[in-house]
Amino acid sequence: MFHIYCPYCEEHREEEEFHPKGQAHIQRPEDPEACSDETWGDYLFFRDNPRGVHHELWVHAVGCRKFFNITRHTVSYEILETYKMGEQPSVTAKSLSEKDKQAGVQAASGGWQTVGARPESDALNKGARV
């Protein structure tokens, strides 16, 4: 069971009280009449399915009944952040990979991490790759 922090109730609640509602931050094309079929089709039907950090829309169905966003890691199921509607996430795939770079962790594109990527072993790695 998850313990999810509801940004409106300002406390952690049981997962039972929540429902996931799919991908967050989907923007409706400004002018649907003028946009291409492909853009409209993307907007209506196509969703991201990343391996790693994903921003999702959830609703606190039994509770305050407000929609909010969750940043969740789809591999570890870890909830990295919850934030209100209309706000932008502070944790993103990009911000995480930058943090990893600073800590010397080499992140593969899929989100998995490889060991031995510290700056001091950089020369070794270079030699190995050639």
Partner: protein, 211 residues
């Protein structure tokens, strides 16, 4: 004054009315009184329930003027007047539940509408849709612990708190207006189910149903 049409849901004269638990009482009666019961259950039927929606600042002014209670602005809080009979509870950032003694709700709605004027708000009388069950006794908390995943330890659930949460697969508004008693605001359609669940959960401690 807004142009909303109001009507009193309570009919004039005195036709007989049934509480949401009437059917449960009719069908199974109440359990025999036990001398050493740990839980006392009681229905507070026919209270006036209003749902207020709108901005906190606008509503607060009106509610203080009309009811004399400050609108609870913090999440999951509950405010009572001095008599303890009228209460306002935070349900969501723009939604509050007002419970007043039965018969007062229609007049209150009118006074609130007058005080709110042309502001952007909504008031809905939901008195017929829900009922209040009270739970008292030293084992009341144990019964709740069996029924809801929410933490009901006094440290996490002090007096003056109220939450909407899962209760026995249904949903209730669970609140603690006083030190010794808990209140459950249950939907009319779930009332019989919740009542029977509570009887079952409280059976091991001994239960008295007051009527």
């Amino acid at each position: 004054m807004s142009d909303v049409k109001e009507f009193d849901t309570r009919p004039t004269g005195s036709p007989s009315s049934e509480s949401p638990l009437a059917w449960s009482f009719h069908r199974r009666g109440t359990p025999p009184r036990e001398a050493s019961a740990g839980v006392t259950l009681r229905e507070k039927a026919f209270l006036g329930h209003l749902i207020l929606r709108g901005g906190a600042i606008v509503l607060d002014e009106a509610v203080r003027e009309v009811l004399g209670i400050t609108l609870p602005a913090r999440p999951n809080t509950l405010a009572l007047d001095n008599s303890g009979e009228r209460s306002i509870q935070w349900l969501s950032p723009d939604e509050w539940l007002v419970i007043v003694p039965g018969g007062e709700e229609f007049a209150l709605e009118g006074r609130l509408r007058k005080a709110l004027g042309q502001a952007h708000y909504s008031i809905v009388n939901v008195s017929g849709g829900q009922t209040v069950l009270t739970l008292r006794g030293e084992k009341a908390r144990e019964v709740l612990m069996k029924s809801t995943p929410y933490d009901v330890h006094p440290q996490a659930f002090p007096v003056g708190k109220g939450v909407t949460t899962v209760f026995a697969k249904a949903s209730v508004v669970l609140r603690r207006p006083t030190e010794e008693g808990w209140e459950l605001v249950v939907r009319r359609s779930f009332a019989d189910y919740c009542y029977r669940w509570l009887l079952d959960a409280a059976a091991e401690y001994g239960v008295i149903v007051e009527r």
